[in-house]
């Protein structure tokens, strides 16, 4: 399942919504205030896949390369923390690798559900 914030720029009233997406189906939930919205996303990020990578991190340099993925040293914009990010290019994965990455992601989800 993926989670993302809903942006409502053109409306008169500011809203603080999140969208939960799975297999082309989604549901939207609105919070009363921005800090509640933040808390929801933080809590859900432990179980869900997020979508706003490029707005949260800046890649600094490549530090490693595996058979399926490349590893980057990155900086998190919010607090300048340095982290490692393993990146898979979906276009370069063949079907076997794709299955493997999907398995990887499903393990990630399953492991959090236990």
């Amino acid at each position: 399942m993926r989670v993302e914030k809903i942006f409502t720029e053109n409306e008169k009233e500011e809203k603080f919504g999140i969208r939960l997406i799975q297999n082309a189906q989604f549901c939207e939930i609105y919070a009363r205030a921005q800090d509640v919205q933040e808390k929801w996303v933080t809590a859900l990020s432990k179980f869900c896949v997020l979508t706003n990578y490029s707005s949260c991190f800046v890649n600094i340099k490549a530090i490693g390369k595996g058979s399926f993925a490349r590893v980057f040293l990155v900086k998190r914009k919010s607090d300048n923390a340095e982290l490692a990010v393993k990146t898979f290019d979906k276009n370069l994965l063949n079907s076997v690798d794709k299955a493997r990455v999907t398995l990887h992601l499903s393990i990630f989800v399953i492991s959090n559900e236990i």
């Binding site: 990578y53 982290l83 276009n91 990887h104 393990i107 399953i110 959090n112």
Partner: protein
């Protein structure tokens, strides 16, 4: 994998997906692969190898108790925390890891030749003990 919290297992913080990429946000380690450290050092002392193996086996016991097996343990997948010592390792690269109780994957051949347990090569049913075999090979290399 994010459920796994152990000092000797690399921490996964968040997962992002965009149209073309999948991103796994992990903790940053400075020591490089155990593979390169072995090459640089030439040989581990018995004491260093002993502490390293204790860390590795403790992490394995932990992840097995949580129902996961790694299936591709090797010095390239063990990352050292920093350059201060030669034994503070973290298990990384869970690309082949799987849930132990997941029957359909337990016949699948996987791993890296040289580290892989005989029961996988023989296409027999196997379990989390294949990780222990790989750990043994790593100890032998040290």
């Amino acid at each position: 994998m994010r459920k796994l919290e152990h000092d000797n297992i690399i921490k996964l913080f968040e997962v992002y997906e965009s149209d073309n990429h999948i991103y796994l946000v992990l903790e940053l380690l400075h020591g490089g692969e155990l593979f390169d450290r072995i090459v640089r050092k030439g040989q581990y002392s018995e004491k260093d190898a002993c502490v390293l193996m204790r860390n590795l086996l403790s992490a394995l016991a932990y992840m097995h108790s949580k129902g996961f097996m790694h299936r591709d343990l090797k010095p390239e997948n063990l990352i050292l925390k920093d350059n201060e010592n030669d034994w503070d390792i973290k298990i990384a690269d869970f690309g082949l890891s799987t849930v132990i109780k997941c029957e359909e994957f337990l016949f699948k051949r996987c791993g890296t030749p040289g580290y892989v347990a005989p029961e996988i090569l023989a296409d027999e049913k196997y379990d989390e003990k294949v990780d222990v075999f790989s750990a043994g090979v790593i100890l032998y290399i040290l």
